[in-house]
C-alpha cells in the first residue's frame, strides 16, 4: 500500500567529500510525516557523516535537504538529535537537563514546568529529578536525553545509534519506550543503527546503505504488526533479508 502521508524531509543528491575521500555519494530519499525510518549499513559506512550532513553540523559538499519544502534551518525547524554518546549537561540536574532545550527555545516558564513534569514522568525519572548526570546509570542518562529531545516536541528526531552502549535488556526497554513516545507524539524519526534486529523491530521502513562511498542500496518496507515479536518467523525472515543485503564478507 502506498504511503499517503505528506513529505516531511526531502533529501536530494546529498554528497559529502572530505578532501579526496568521498563519503556520501549522491543520496536521495524522502521521509514522510510521522514516519519511523531506520537506516542501516555496515560499520564505518558513513552513517554518522550522513546524519551530520543532514543537520548541517557538516556542510554537505553537494545536494540539498528540505524540511516542509524549505532548506534546513536549525533556528526555524525544530530538530532534535540524540547521539550515541551521552549528551547530558553534567552541571545540570535531571530536570534542568530536560528543561534545557525548552529554555533554549524560550518556552514560557509555566508551559516549560508542565513539560518537564510530563516527560520526567514518561521516562520514569521523577524520583531522580534532582540527581546530577554523574550519579546516573547509562540507561538513565540516555533517558534524560530522550526526554529532553521529546519535550521540545521536535518535528524531526534524529537518532544515531542511541542505544549502542547499552546492554540488551535495557535496550529493549528503551526501544519500547521510544516507540510509545513516537506513537504518542507522532514525531518523524530517522534512526541510524548497525543493529539489524533493532532496525527491524523499530522501523516502518529500512534504508540499507552500501560501504563507502555510501549510497542507498535499497529500501525495505516493514509492515510487521506491532508489538513485534523478535522470534516470530516473519521477523526472522525480514532480519535475514536485511542481513543478506548488508553482508560485505
Amino acid at each position: 500500500m502506498e504511503d499517503k502521508r505528506e513529505i516531511k524531509v526531502k533529501v536530494m543528491n546529498l554528497t559529502k567529500q572530505f578532501d579526496e575521500l568521498l563519503v556520501l555519494d549522491d543520496i536521495s530519499f524522502d521521509v514522510k510525516k510521522g514516519e519511523f525510518l531506520c537506516i542501516v549499513g555496515p560499520t564505518g559506512c558513513g552513517k554518522t557523516t550522513f546524519l551530520n550532513s543532514l543537520t548541517k553540523l557538516y556542510q554537505p559538499t553537494k545536494g540539498e535537504i528540505l524540511i516542509n519544502n524549505e532548506p534546513v534551518d536549525l533556528k526555524k525547524h525544530s530538530i532534535a538529535y540524540i547521539f550515541q554518546e551521552y549528551s547530558t549537561m553534567p552541571w545540570l540536574t535531571v530536570e534542568e537537563n530536560i528543561r534545557f532545550g525548552l529554555s533554549i527555545k524560550h518556552m514560557p516558564k509555566e508551559l516549560a514546568d508542565q513539560k518537564v513534569e510530563e516527560y520526567l514522568e514518561v521516562v520514569g525519572l521523577t524520583k531522580y529529578r534532582k540527581y546530577y548526570p554523574d550519579q546516573l546509570s547509562a540507561s538513565m542518562l540516555q533517558r534524560v536525553v530522550i526526554a529532553r529531545a521529546f519535550a521540545t516536541e521536535p518535528e524531526l528526531l534524529l537518532m544515531d545509534e542511541p542505544y549502542g552502549q547499552l546492554d540488551i535488556e535495557l535496550r529493549f526497554k528503551l526501544e519500547d519506550e521510544l516507540l510509545n513516545l513516537w506513537k504518542r507524539n507522532g514525531t518523524t524519526v530517522i534512526f541510524i543503527t548497525h543493529n539489524i534486529e533493532e532496525a527491524v523491530y523499530l522501523g516502518e521502513r529500512i534504508l540499507v546503505l552500501t560501504n563507502k562511498p555510501t549510497k542507498i542500496k535499497t529500501e525495505i518496507k516493514n509492515d510487521l504488526p506491532r508489538p513485534r515479536d523478535i522470534v516470530s518467523e516473519d521477523f526472522v525472515n525480514l532480519r535475514n533479508e536485511v542481513t543478506d543485503l548488508i553482508k560485505w564478507w
Partner: protein
C-alpha cells in the same frame, strides 16, 4: 574482636602519623638548634612558635601580626580579583576565538615564563613605590594560571555537548553562556586555586618594594636586621595563611561545582 583503642587507632592512623612526623621534626629541630653549632643560623622551633604567638599581641615594627596579615591579604585580594577578571576574560577569548588566540597567545606565551619578581624594577618605574606596584607583581603571579586554565577549559568543551545545544537551536550566544562557560568552571576553579596560592607566595616579592607592613615585609626586614626569628615567624605566617586560603578555595569549589563530585547511585 577489635578493641575500642585499636579501632580508634586504625581510623585515625593518618592524622596520628602526621602529628608524630611534625612533632619529630620540631624535636629534632629544637635539639639541633640548641645543642649544635647550627644554632647560630637556625633559631630553635620553640622560640619561633612563641614569638609567633606573641606577635598577635606585641607589635613587630609598627603593627601586630593580624595587621600584617590583613595588609598582605588586602594586597593579594585586590590583585587576585583583577587577575581573575582579566584571566577569565582573556582565557575565554583565546579559547573561543581563533583570531584572538592567534594574536594574543604567542605574546602571552612569551610573557608567561618571566617570573613576577623579574618585574619588580619595571613595576617601580611604572607604578611607583606604593601599593600599585605590589598589586601589579601579585597580579602577574596569579594572572597566568587563571588565563591558562580558563583557556584549557574553553578549548576542552565536549563537542557532543556543543552539538547537542546547537541541534536544540541554541544561538552562538546561548552556546557560549549555557555550555562553554559552565563546562569550563572546574578548569577555572583549578586555576583560581593555584593562582591564590601563587599570589600569596608572590606577596613576599611584592613587599620587597618599599613597605612597612605585611608578612613579606616581616621577612625582608628580618633579613635586613639579621633577625632570623622574625624571618621564620614571617615564613610561618605565610605558610599558615596560604594553607587556609587554598583550603577555603577548595571548599568554595566544592560548593559551586557540586555536580563535579557527586557519588553515583
Amino acid at each position: 574482636m577489635e578493641s575500642k583503642t585499636s579501632r580508634f587507632m586504625r581510623k585515625n592512623m593518618a592524622a596520628f602519623m602526621t602529628i608524630v612526623a611534625f612533632m619529630s621534626l620540631l624535636l629534632v629541630w629544637e635539639l639541633v638548634a640548641r645543642f649544635t653549632n647550627a644554632g647560630m643560623f637556625l633559631p630553635p622551633a620553640s622560640e619561633i612558635i612563641s614569638k609567633f604567638v606573641e606577635s598577635f599581641t606585641v607589635p613587630i615594627g609598627k603593627h601586630r601580626m593580624l595587621v600584617h596579615i590583613g595588609v598582605s591579604l588586602y594586597r593579594v585580594g585586590v590583585a587576585f580579583i583583577f587577575a581573575t577578571i582579566a584571566g577569565i576574560f582573556l582565557g575565554v577569548s583565546m579559547g573561543y576565538s581563533k583570531t584572538v588566540e592567534a594574536i594574543i597567545k604567542p605574546i602571552f606565551e612569551f610573557i608567561r615564563p618571566i617570573p613576577p619578581l623579574a618585574w619588580i624594577p619595571m613595576s617601580i618605574l611604572w607604578f611607583g613605590l606604593g601599593d600599585q606596584s605590589k598589586f601589579f607583581i601579585i597580579f602577574l603571579g596569579c594572572f597566568c594560571f587563571i588565563t591558562v586554565n580558563t583557556y584549557d577549559g574553553t578549548k576542552n568543551v565536549d563537542h557532543v555537548l556543543l552539538g547537542a545545544a546547537r541541534m536544540l537551536g541554541a544561538s552562538e550566544r546561548q552556546v557560549f553562556f549555557r555550555v562553554v562557560l559552565p563546562s569550563s568552571i572546574p578548569y577555572i576553579f583549578a586555576g583560581l586555586q593555584i593562582a591564590i596560592t601563587a599570589g600569596w607566595s608572590a606577596v613576599v616579592g611584592a613587599e620587597m618594594v618599599r613597605s612597612d607592613e605585611g608578612v613579606g615585609w616581616l621577612i625582608v626586614m628580618g633579613m635586613t636586621n639579621g633577625n632570623t626569628v622574625q624571618i621564620m615567624v614571617g615564613m610561618l605566617a605565610i605558610g599558615i595563611v596560604g594553607y587556609i586560603l587554598a583550603t577555603a578555595m577548595a571548599k568554595l569549589e566544592g560548593r559551586l561545582c557540586i555536580w563535579n563530585q557527586q557519588q553515583g547511585i
